[in-house]
């Protein structure tokens, strides 16, 4: 279950994050939120590390972290696509968008991230952008009135951007 040892830099980052909060149980959630924000996932070893620092057991930290949907112990894609399935979006047909994306990226309810760690497709309850239904969030940006066609367009753009980035790196 546990991945291989983390690089020392992870612990340094964790130390920096931990130093922003008091060493108490109540700091657990904000600390791991910051870690998750940094790495787009919560490395299991860091959870144990944080738990020890703030004086709770690893079991307790795992218990708390696994309760909340936002924490992921597995690495997420560079682009996290959150498809809103709130009432308004559902009524305005968010399901075909989700189906399209999953099919296109070879993902499912249980497999949410592509093997190249590029895309993660998640369903979220409500983004609170009901006027724009169906809505989708790509990382922090909301995309309104989605259709499978628009989703295809978006994927194309993101992939092109990646391609470009890669070419730049090579040059």
């Amino acid at each position: 279950m546990k991945p291989t040892m983390l690089d020392q830099s992870y612990y340094e980052t964790a130390n920096e994050i931990i130093s922003r909060y008091p060493l108490e149980e109540k700091s657990l959630i904000p600390i791991i939120q910051d870690i998750q924000a940094t790495y787009r996932y919560l490395p299991p070893d860091l959870l144990d590390y944080v738990a020890k620092k703030i004086g709770i057991t690893e079991t307790k930290a795992y218990s708390v972290a696994s309760f909340y949907e936002n924490f992921s112990f597995e690495q997420k894609g560079k682009y996290v696509l959150k498809i809103c399935d709130g009432t308004a979006c559902h009524v305005r047909k968010s399901t075909p968008v989700l189906q399209y994306l999953r099919q296109e990226l070879g993902l499912s309810e249980t497999k949410q991230t592509t093997d190249d760690l590029m895309f993660t497709v998640e369903v979220v309850s409500c983004l609170g952008a009901c006027g724009l239904a169906p809505a989708m969030m790509v990382n922090e940006q909301v995309h309104p009135k989605m259709t499978p066609e628009k989703a295809a367009e978006l994927l194309k753009e993101l992939r092109a951007k990646e391609e470009e980035g890669r070419n730049d790196d090579q040059n």
Partner: protein
């Protein structure tokens, strides 16, 4: 203080914590699956829901009693709700009830029968979780877990161990160690208290019954047993014998019938422990060593201390536990070809405790790198063997334990209850024999149910401060106070289980306050009837020091810390 009306009956209440207790005091056994008077109120099973005179429903476990309350506990709708709740639990439960280890004492099944659940409208959920048999003490089968949380609150709130906890949520909720580790990979101390409170077969004792049957059937072995003090006052529970009655005689008989060649009393081992530990205490005091001497009889405590407070490891007594001292002595005794008759010794101990199963495997309690005790059977397992054999336990006569280790002292017997070790050590340090002296020790504050007891006694003009703590959560709190310098002691007795071994993780379950009291009384009454009160006056023990133990006390009676691991 006031009156309430329960199902039309006027019921008085005083300081009951909740309506549920008032209902039960009124002799109505309202069903619950997550309520445990020893644990905090969780309110998850909702079976104890009652309704008031306005038809409002509420869980009686969480409601404080109020004067003038009018409640109903058994209206048709409440019974319908209870049936539906049980139906839902059963549908989400691995229903191999007929072959389940918990069969016969499963609380879920009992309630389902009582409430008349005669059909299940929902598809049974698949048993999808692997069974965790990694621990030497307990087996965890999440497929049978109903998520009542009793084990979690026991492990976390009462024992401060927190090896298991809830993870995930909704229907995915699971009681598990972090990251789905196995129990063996955690800081679990094997106390087995989770299993004591588990209403189903989700946590059970890791049994060694089959291995023992095999040994008993093998013509090339000599199988001997030692029986711990707390077993004798709890085993009777399983055979309808009055609570707390000492059934040691019957047990010896039954074990002989099962094929055990010799049956000894761990009380003898306890006497050795008292002598060695008292010696160590005196040495420590005279050498002015820092910090208290912690007892080492309880392996769950020893493991807890090692993992949580490694800095205190040196303060734990070097003495082996009674099981391990006696185990080593038995092993040594049977090395003699005249005694073993060329057969292989299989040493079994019968214990109230699941942690003892782990203790026999600990390198520090082995002799010359060899395991002294081969198998530990808990009280519950022995009851099951007796039942399987068809022996009518309740009807058989008593027999006495076998020589040459057949005599124990009263001090050794009371090891099974919290404060017992301390009381035995006090007796050892006391020079006199009069009843007055024994009474003075008895009333020194060493006895009783409290999680922490403190006392001081005088030894040759020096005041010795002792603490008796039971329940690891209480121990944890005490250590924090010791470390902060708030309190200090010379001697601290720790038993991992609340109230000591009589309430150990291997004992028959379902022991309420009355049973707890009866078990303690059973041991104290046994002590009263024993002529030898002091461990250091047990003639058989003294003979051993002159014989078998000569030059070997350290090797056989003390933990070989850091010496033989390699």
């Amino acid at each position: 203080m006031g009156f309430m009306t329960i199902d039309g009956q006027r019921v008085e209440f005083t300081n009951e914590p909740n309506v549920l207790t008032v209902i039960r005091n009124a002799e109505i056994d309202i069903p619950t699956l997550c309520y445990h008077s020893e644990l905090s109120i969780y309110g998850a099973c909702r079976l104890c829901t009652v309704e008031d005179d306005r038809g409002k429903t509420f869980a009686s476990c969480a409601e404080p009693p109020r004067d003038g309350m009018v409640i109903y506990t058994n209206t048709p709708r409440l019974m319908r709700y209870r049936r539906t709740i049980l139906e839902l639990l059963l549908a989400a439960h691995d229903r191999d009830c007929t072959t389940c280890v918990k069969s016969g004492e499963c609380h879920l099944l009992e309630l389902a029968h009582r409430m008349g659940v005669d059909r299940i409208r929902f598809k049974n959920r698949e048993a999808k979780y692997p069974i965790d048999e990694s621990s030497p003490a307990i087996v965890r089968n999440p497929n049978k877990c109903i998520l009542c949380g009793d084990c979690v609150r026991m492990c976390d709130n009462v024992q401060s161990v927190n090896a298991i906890d809830f993870a995930y949520r909704g229907t995915s909720t699971l009681v598990t160690p972090a990251f789905n580790k196995t129990i063996a990979q955690t800081n679990c101390v094997n106390c087995g208290q989770c299993r004591v409170v588990c209403p189903t077969g989700a946590i059970s004792i890791k049994t060694n019954i089959d291995e023992v049957w095999d040994a008993l059937a093998d013509p090339n072995t000599i199988v001997v047993a030692q029986v711990a003090p707390a077993v004798r006052v709890a085993l009777g529970d399983k055979f309808g014998i009055p609570k707390g009655e000492n059934v040691m005689g019957k047990l010896v008989n039954a074990l002989h019938r099962l094929g055990f060649h010799e049956v000894y009393d761990t009380t003898y081992g306890a006497d050795l422990t008292v002598i060695e530990e008292a010696e160590e205490l005196l040495e420590r005091i005279s050498s002015g060593a820092k910090g208290p001497l912690f007892t080492s009889c309880c392996p769950a405590w020893v493991k807890f201390c090692e993992t949580r407070y490694p800095e205190l490891a040196d303060n734990i007594s070097t003495c082996r536990s009674p099981q391990q001292m006696f185990g080593a002595v038995i092993r040594e005794y049977y090395r003699n070809p005249e005694i073993n008759q060329g057969k292989k010794l299989v040493s079994v101990s019968i214990m109230p405790c699941t942690a003892k199963k782990e203790e026999i495997l600990r390198p520090e309690s082995m002799t010359n790198g060899r395991q002294d005790v081969d198998y530990v059977l808990t009280t519950t397992e022995v009851a099951s063997m007796i039942r399987k054999s068809g022996i009518r336990f309740e009807n058989i006569d008593g027999e006495s334990t076998d020589m040459p280790f057949g005599i124990g002292s009263g001090g050794g017997v009371i090891f099974g209850v919290t404060g017992g070790v301390t009381e035995a050590v006090l007796r050892r340090l006391q020079t006199g024999h009069s009843r007055v002296e024994m009474d003075r020790i008895r009333t020194s504050g060493v006895r009783g149910d409290d999680g922490l007891k403190e006392l001081t006694f005088d030894y040759m003009g020096k005041e010795i401060r002792a603490a008796v703590v039971n329940g690891l959560g209480n121990a944890d709190k005490l250590i924090k106070r010791i470390q902060s310098g708030e309190v200090s002691y010379d001697f601290v007795e720790v038993m991992a289980c609340r109230r000591g071994c009589i309430m150990g993780g291997g004992q028959p379950v379902g022991a309420g306050p009355r049973t707890r009291k009866a078990r303690a009384k059973g041991l104290y009454d046994t002590d009263v009837n024993m002529q030898i009160k002091k461990s250091n006056e047990n003639p058989m023990v003294l003979a051993l020091y002159e014989g078998l133990l000569k030059g070997k006390t350290h090797q056989l009676l003390h933990r070989n810390l850091g010496s033989t691991e390699n």
